[in-house]
Symmetry: C2
Subunit: 224 residues, 2 copies
Amino acid sequence: MEAVTPLRRERIDRLRGLYAIADGAATRPSLDLIAAFLRGGARVIQLRLKSAGTAELLRVAREAAARCRAHGALFLVNDRPDIARLAAADGVHLGQEDLPVEAARAVLGADALIGVSTHSDPEMDAALAAGADYLGFGPIFATASKPGAPLPPPQGIEGLARAVKRAAPVPVVAIGGLGADNAAAVAAAGARCLAAIGELCRAADPEAAARRLGLAFGGGGKLG
Amino acid sequence: MEAVTPLRRERIDRLRGLYAIADGAATRPSLDLIAAFLRGGARVIQLRLKSAGTAELLRVAREAAARCRAHGALFLVNDRPDIARLAAADGVHLGQEDLPVEAARAVLGADALIGVSTHSDPEMDAALAAGADYLGFGPIFATASKPGAPLPPPQGIEGLARAVKRAAPVPVVAIGGLGADNAAAVAAAGARCLAAIGELCRAADPEAAARRLGLAFGGGGKLG
């Protein structure tokens, strides 16, 4: 495996705290959501616009990247290394049906942060072997964010703690059914980030929801 | 505008004859369609898999690229420069809602062939100014290939002939409602390629349909 560059190392180190996913399926425009998440203290923003045209995705990604930079937050694009590169994002997040890590890295280069969604030990091991810079892991609790999609069973806080140990020193981003009520347990289990979609995108006040989640989670990363 | 590299020039020169679009919405697997189109003599293959996961798209694109290479046909990927690059395709085809030409070129480099769908003089002029290597132009006749999508009015053979002159020396790929009955007129109007989707993807025998269309079109490119 190739060496981690200083810029990529810095990006990995900055992966902490609230990881807010702006979903194009939300009723609010993605850029409005991202602005609210950043004001609310999110440290990582992921843009997921599955149904937009590519030109629109690039437009939104470029603007989102600029806003994240201004807040010192990391900016990741879901699924599309070409858009991540063109928008000068910090990296991409890949689902299990997205590109393999090495393909995304071939497009993005050695400085990019590449994360992979995982839901089981075999998926974690494969992503680690492929050189993922962080692992998404979940769902921790039951969730309704992806209606229709077949989701693996919830992992619980114990499953998260096991995943954090399995992945170490690669950081784990916990996702799925997370809120202010369970954020402290997620932090205690060693997750470096708490990720949320529906809890933030469907909130009446996304800025307040981000602030509440980020404060409840604290710094995160006890073990990461 | 940057200079056209020798490899890109060669790719532009090879853009002739039947341009077959394998659409993921077809009932047959895309690779089966592509194999049939190539056996039937298609000189250009475009892969359009809008609803596939990205990993699946890359898998199909890599295999399609190998088959096209073996037949000496050009291989283009719809919309996704990252996939085109990873599959070592000859280039990409961009719709009006896809990436701008310069963005696609930033991902693909100077050797890639980049085409743009156009439906009017302003769209043609914009694509030419952006440095498109060829223009898709249509619909020439009414078509049902994109049910639900709002399509511009058919341009007719006269509209095509005007477009060919406007674009020259940039080649024009005619599309929309084309079949063996009007292919000779399309060639006479100066289109370098005749492109087809539904006529080929929905054919009972895609290989025979490709052969019939390619023969009816002839070499193409009287003016191109």
